[in-house]
C-alpha cells in the first residue's frame, strides 16, 4: 500500500545524495562540536562543559574559536548520529563526547575518521587510538575537602548525601566526601542514598527530606537532580556542599563550598596539542594540582570576613596535602586512575 509511495520518495531523496557533496572548510578558526546528555543549564555535568567552552571562546575570541553544542542528548544513539555527522563533515578540529555512556561510540567511530580529533569523558581510556583524548575529574579530591569542611561545621554530627547511580565521578565524589568527613571526625554519621536516577527531582527531594528527618544538618549530592535537595537545604536551613558546577545562586545562604570542574584547563592543552599536530592518544585528569578542580566558596553565603579567611586557608591546607600526597584519599584501586599517555601514537 503506502510502501510503494514511500519507496518512491525514498529513491528521490537518495538521488539528491549524489548532488550534495561535503564542503571542506579550511581556515584559522578552531572549531569544536560537543554533545552532552543533559541541559546546558543543569548546574551540573553538562553545564560544566558548556561553561568551559564559553570561557575559552571569550579568551580566544569568536574569530578564533567557535563551538557547536548539542545538549539533552541522553539517548546514546542520537549522540552517535551527531558525532558521526560532525566527524564526516571535516569541519571540526575537535569533536567532544561529554558523557561516559558515549565511550563505545568513540571507540567505533574514531578509527573510521583518523584525521579528526575526538575527546570523551569521563574516563581515562583512549582505547589506544592516536586520535582520541580522554578526560575525567578526580572528583574525590574536592569531595574530600567538602567532607572535611562539612565535618567541622556539623552540629548534629549527621550529614546527608544524595547521589544518582553508584558509578563514575558521582561515586568518587561521595567516596571522597565520606573519607573527608571521617578524617576530621570519625564519629559523624554520613547517610548516603543513591536514587538510581540522574533526573528524578521528586525522589531526590524526599531522599534529602529523609536525611533531614534523621538529623542531618548538612546536605550534599551530585548530578542534575540535586536542585531538589538544594531547595530542601534552603528550606530547612541546612548547609549545602556542591560539585560539578557552582550552585551558589540556587543554594543562596545555605551554600558553602563547591567543587567546580574547570574543563577549560585541559581543553586548552588539547587545543594546543591538536594545533601542534597531535590528535589524541593522551588522557587528562582534572585535579587540584593542575587547577582543573576549583574549590569555590559560595559568594551568596553571608559569611563573616574572618570566617571566610579561616575557611580559605583550611581549604588551601587540605589541597596542599592532597597534592603533595600527604593525604591519600582512596586506595589506588578505588581512586581516579592516573592519566595515561599512550606509549606510542598509532603504528
Amino acid at each position: 500500500m503506502s510502501k510503494i509511495r514511500f519507496s518512491a520518495v525514498l529513491v528521490v531523496l537518495v538521488l539528491l545524495t549524489g548532488i550534495l557533496s561535503a564542503v571542506h572548510a579550511q581556515d584559522d578558526v578552531f572549531r569544536v562540536a560537543a554533545v552532552a546528555p543533559s541541559a546546558t543549564t543543569d548546574l551540573a555535568f553538562s553545564q560544566s562543559m558548556f561553561d568551559a567552552l564559553t570561557l575559552i571562546q571569550a579568551e580566544m575570541g569568536e574569530d578564533m574559536f567557535q563551538f557547536d553544542f548539542q545538549d539533552g542528548t541522553f539517548i546514546v544513539d542520537d549522540a552517535a548520529v551527531a558525532l558521526r555527522e560532525w566527524a564526516a563533515s571535516g569541519e571540526y578540529d575537535l569533536v567532544i563526547a561529554h558523557g561516559s555512556q558515549y565511550g563505545t561510540i568513540i571507540q567505533e567511530l574514531a578509527p573510521e575518521f583518523p584525521e579528526v580529533s575526538f575527546a570523551w569523558g569521563t574516563d581515562v581510556n583512549t582505547f589506544g587510538l592516536p586520535n582520541v583524548f580522554a578526560y575525567t575529574a578526580a572528583a574525590e579530591q574536592g569531595g574530600f575537602i567538602n567532607g572535611a569542611v562539612a565535618a567541622s561545621l556539623t552540629e548534629s554530627n549527621v550529614i546527608g548525601v544524595v547521589g544518582p547511580i553508584e558509578v563514575g565521578d558521582a561515586k568518587l565524589y561521595v567516596d571522597g566526601f565520606k573519607v573527608g568527613v571521617a578524617f576530621v571526625n570519625a564519629d559523624i554519621n554520613v547517610l548516603v542514598t543513591y536514587i538510581q536516577s540522574f533526573s528524578d527531582v521528586t525522589l531526590a527531594t524526599e531522599a534529602a527530606n529523609a536525611h533531614i528527618a534523621n538529623g542531618a544538618d548538612i546536605l550534599t549530592g551530585s548530578a542534575q537532580m540535586v536542585v531538589g535537595p538544594i531547595a530542601v537545604a534552603v528550606e530547612e536551613e541546612a548547609l549545602w556542599f556542591g560539585t560539578q558546577s557552582s550552585q551558589a545562586d540556587l543554594a543562596a545562604t545555605s551554600g558553602v563550598l563547591f567543587q567546580v570542574y574547570r574543563w577549560d584547563v585541559i581543553l586548552n592543552d588539547m587545543i594546543a596539542s591538536i594545533q601542534g599536530g597531535t590528535l589524541g592518544g593522551e588522557s587528562y585528569v582534572l585535579t587540584l594540582e593542575n587547577g582543573g578542580l576549583e574549590m569555590q566558596i559560595s559568594e551568596a553565603a553571608e559569611m563573616e570576613e574572618e570566617a571566610m579567611e579561616v575557611l580559605q586557608s583550611t581549604i588551601e591546607d587540605y589541597a596542599t596535602q592532597i597534592v603533595s600526597g600527604d593525604i591519600v584519599i582512596l586506595p589506588e584501586a578505588e581512586a581516579t586512575p592516573e592519566p595515561q599517555a599512550t606509549e606510542e601514537a598509532g603504528s
Partner: protein
Amino acid sequence: MIEQILTASVFASTIRLATPYILAGLGETFSQRSGVLNLGVDGVMLMGAFFAFYTALITGSAVLGVIAALGVGLILGLATAFISVTLKAEQGISGIGIYLFGLGMSELLFQQWIGTPKSVTGFPDIFIPGLSDIEFLGIGEIFFQHNILVYVAFLLIPLSSFVLNHTTLGLMIRAVGQNPQAADAMGVNVTRVRYATVAFCGVMAALAGASLSIALLKVFQQNLTSGLGFIAVALVYFGRWRPYGILAGALLFSFVNAVQLQISAIGLDVPSEFAVMAPYVITIIALVFASKQTEKPTALTRPFERGE
C-alpha cells in the same frame, strides 16, 4: 529496627509523595469514567508545574501560581477534549503527542524565560492548630503539618467519590462511559460530558504539577515530573476507577517509596537498585491479591458515534 524504619517522618513523607498522584489520578478517573483515556497527563503536569512556578517566581504569589496552573490546565484539557472527543483521534497516540508537547514546551519556556534553576518561596507548611501538636503515634507530624495542596488533594477524594456516586452529574459521567448510545438516547449530551471531564482532568493534572513545583519541591527543572504522570495513570487502574481506590494505590506506592528512602538513609545494606524497584513490584503484587471485581468503563477509548 522496625521503629527506625517506620518513623512518623516516613509516614509524613508518604503523604507528601502521594499528593501529586492523587491529584492527577482523580482527574484521570473522571476522564476515564466518561470513556476517555488521557495519556498526556505527564505533559500537562509539566506545563502546570512550569506556569505555577514562573508565575510564583515573578509575582511572589503562590496563589497566583496555582491560578496560572489551573488556567493552563484548562486550556490543555480543552485541547485534549477537542482532539479526543471532537476529532475522535486515537487516544493512546494523541496522549503521547500531548505528553511530548508538554515535555518540550515546559522545558523550552523554562530555558527562555528563566534560564537556570531557581527556587521560589511557594506554599509554606500549614500547622493545623490543635491537631498538628498531637504527639500520639506522631499523628500531628504525619497528617497536620503539610502545605495547602496536600490538604486539598486529600479533601478532594471524598468529594470526588460523592460526585461520582451520588449526584446526577456523576450518573451522567458513568452512563457516558458505560454506554454512550444509551446515555445519548436518554438525552445526555455525551460530547459535553466528555469535554467537561477531560478538561477537569487537565486542570487536575496541572494542579498536580503545581503541587510539585511550588509546594513540594519549590524548584523547576526540565522534566521535573520524571514520568510521575504515567504512574498516576497506572494507579487509576490500581484503584479500579474509584477515588478511594486511587487513594489506596497512591498511599501504597508512596509508602514503599518513603520506606526504601529511609532504609538507605539509615544505612541498611540493600542494593539501591532493588530498593528503588520495590514500589513498582509491590504495587503489582498488591493488585494480584486485591479484589477481582472490575468496573472498567466499557466505552473507554471508544469515540462516540451516534447511531452506531
